[in-house]
Symmetry: C2
Subunit: 402 residues, 2 copies
């Protein structure tokens, strides 16, 4: 297998480090808009440079990406860029006759009149509209195969296949107890993206209603995360799992709640009430600028904080329903300790946890265990081999009966 | 009396409207950096234009201001600009042999090593350093004669003269129940200045310690404001009263607490923890900008909100101590209802309440009731004639025995 990796930021770089320890692929072409980032990722691999090449690419240039896939004889494109580049990369792979894998799906836009009740364009809609073309071409587009979406969706399918007869609710729950030494407030993930996720109308799926939206920060709950993380305030957030899981797994309700914690929720609400989440420009002495860019510029770059971070991050899926006539309530989860990921891979926990999953998916595709044609989420494919590889990679998952 | 008014913003314009109904002065020259603002203020006075002239002035150009004072034969300069222009205007008046009046004093700078324990340069220090020159010239600089500082200081002196034998604490307390229709968050006063006031180290005076500072938002208390405003969360804020009152009024302790309310306090803390209160520049797409300017640009202009505001604002001074051997606790206060000030003067309550006090002070100087030489606060002069004029102007004050 020859892989074209597009994007050598935090997640792309972590993908190279995790993949370098596995033998399933022949070559990985590591690309970025900024060639020096791709070169730095490859150089950091030490003796493994022979299976990796660094090249420059503009992810928004569909024709150039198609040409590179062909020229480099790549079997699959792995998209590790930000979601604005999903569509050109997705189309470039199809045009080149390659498979495709991403960790976030094409962007949503809110309903023009009733944003907090009805969906407008949903996450992934633009990709699913093209499913027939992928099926006809006999090529596989694996969408949303990071940790959440991705591993969370594998957990959902595993629960349906092996743990439940009937499922009431599938609720993805993400939480952490990460702190950053020396900072009062330092998000471990891009604040720009976090604002986008958290202030977009959250989406919920119910069997009787289909997909619908709510106001931001709806249905607050305190979820008790495992392995010492403890209780964290969670709220509904727009996320791909809610759009993916109901397509392949039967249940009555699907939600995603993000463990932002009370302080972070209040901070986001304040930014919103002050209009500082806006992306349109305001005029001030010195220029015309987007307030959200200014917020991001005032905070430390999360990619640079790994060494100062302490704590663990947890991704998982809570499933309630019945098994053999009795009620059941389980939380399937995966925890990464930042000190472990920094020591083992030089990568902070949130980024590392995202990156391991596409590498496992690639290995399953390379070995033929995962195969198919069309636009598929991780829950469309066999969960057990995926979960077994997670253990084999040295990062086991857990199951808690509630 | 001929008056040079510098600054035709909210407060300057309100000064012209209040003064226009009084006969104590012969002429007021209304000036602004933006001539159209001065002209608009004068044009709005209707039949009273004969006593008012509009001219352009640059408040930072000391020589030009001195020349204008001489050319226009003005007896007194009234500074209604922002505090950055205190020093050039104060020096210009002295150089021209005119009297001077302002509503905010020369700016502070924090102690370089122990900002939350010790004072650095205090509010008004640069003006008091020049007191001898004013005394020698036989001219009067009345400093901090708005509502707070200003009326609050008159209340303090009145309490010392007529209500107490010994004073324990003089605590200025400012609160409001103003809301702005259609806005979740819309400060009734400049957010730039509010951030400056609230995030600077608050200053406290005690007889045994002199002036010292604390961390922002210290000594929170809930103060019950009169006339239906009710309880509001108040915290220590850096303000001129604490620097002025101990110079002329005996007590054991002087504080200033601002009734920001819990929501506003949390918002300011959030802006600070995100670094959005910073005035140094950050680089973002579109320019190099000061984050605090971006915060201000995202919020509505408070000067434009008068017609949408509802509620009352209260300024006052709480005094505790003893009278005739018995403990006493009084709150001397002044309340303005926004709907009243909009209807009567077309001016929002907070601005109007600031503007009435310098007009009363001018009238007392014109009539010779207030006189002196040097740099004096309102508490250096007789309080009763000031309070009587407040009633005569149609805006009575109140006294609550606690």
């Amino acid at each position: 297998m020859r892989v074209l990796l597009v994007g050598a930021g935090g997640v792309g770089t972590a993908i190279t480090r995790i993949a370098a320890r596995r033998s399933f692929f022949d070559h990985m072409v590591v690309t970025d808009y900024d060639l020096s980032r791709a070169e730095a990722a490859v150089a950091a691999l030490g003796g493994e440079e022979t299976r990796f090449t660094a090249l420059r690419i503009d992810a928004s240039d569909r024709a150039a990406v198609t040409a590179l896939l062909t020229e480099q004889r790549c079997d699959i494109l792995v998209n590790a860029t930000d979601p604005r580049f999903v569509m050109p990369l997705f189309e470039a792979a199809l045009a080149a006759g390659a498979d495709y894998l991403d960790m976030a799906m094409s962007l949503s836009s809110p309903h023009p009149e009733r944003p907090y009740e009805q969906c407008g364009v949903k996450l992934g809609d633009r990709q699913f509209e093209r499913a027939a073309a992928w099926e006809e071409a006999g090529r596989l587009a694996l969408v949303g195969v990071g940790v959440e979406p991705g591993l969370s969706d594998v957990f959902a399918r595993y629960a349906a296949d092996e743990l439940f007869d009937e499922i009431e609710e599938i609720g993805v729950r993400d939480g952490a107890n990460l702190t950053v030494e020396g900072y009062d407030f330092a998000p471990s993930f891009s604040i720009w993206t976090t604002i986008e996720e958290c202030l977009n109308p959250p989406v919920v799926w119910e069997r009787d209603r289909g997909w619908f939206t709510t106001a931001p920060f709806s249905e607050p709950e305190v979820f008790d995360f495992p392995e010492g993380i403890g209780p964290v305030a969670c709220v509904n957030v727009e996320h791909e799992e809610v759009l993916l899981i109901p397509r392949w797994v039967e249940s009555r309700r699907v939600t995603f709640k993000y463990g932002l914690g009370d302080e972070f929720i209040e901070t986001l609400k304040t930014l919103h009430s002050l209009g500082l989440d806006r992306t349109d420009k305001v005029t001030v002495p010195g220029g015309e600028v987007s307030p959200r860019d200014v917020v991001a510029a005032c905070l430390p770059d999360p990619a640079s904080l790994g060494a100062l971070m302490r704590g663990k991050t947890c991704a998982g899926t809570r499933v309630t329903g019945t098994k053999d006539g009795a009620p059941r309530d389980v939380y399937l989860y995966h925890v990464v300790d930042n000190q472990w990921s920094m020591r083992e891979y030089g990568t902070q926990a949130v980024v590392w946890q995202t990156a391991i999953n596409p590498v496992i998916a690639l290995e399953l595709v390379a070995s033929g265990v995962w195969s198919g044609a069309g636009v598929l989420g991780a829950e469309a494919l066999a969960p057990r081999p995926f979960l077994d590889l997670l253990v084999a990679y040295g990062s086991p998952w857990g199951l808690r009966e509630q």
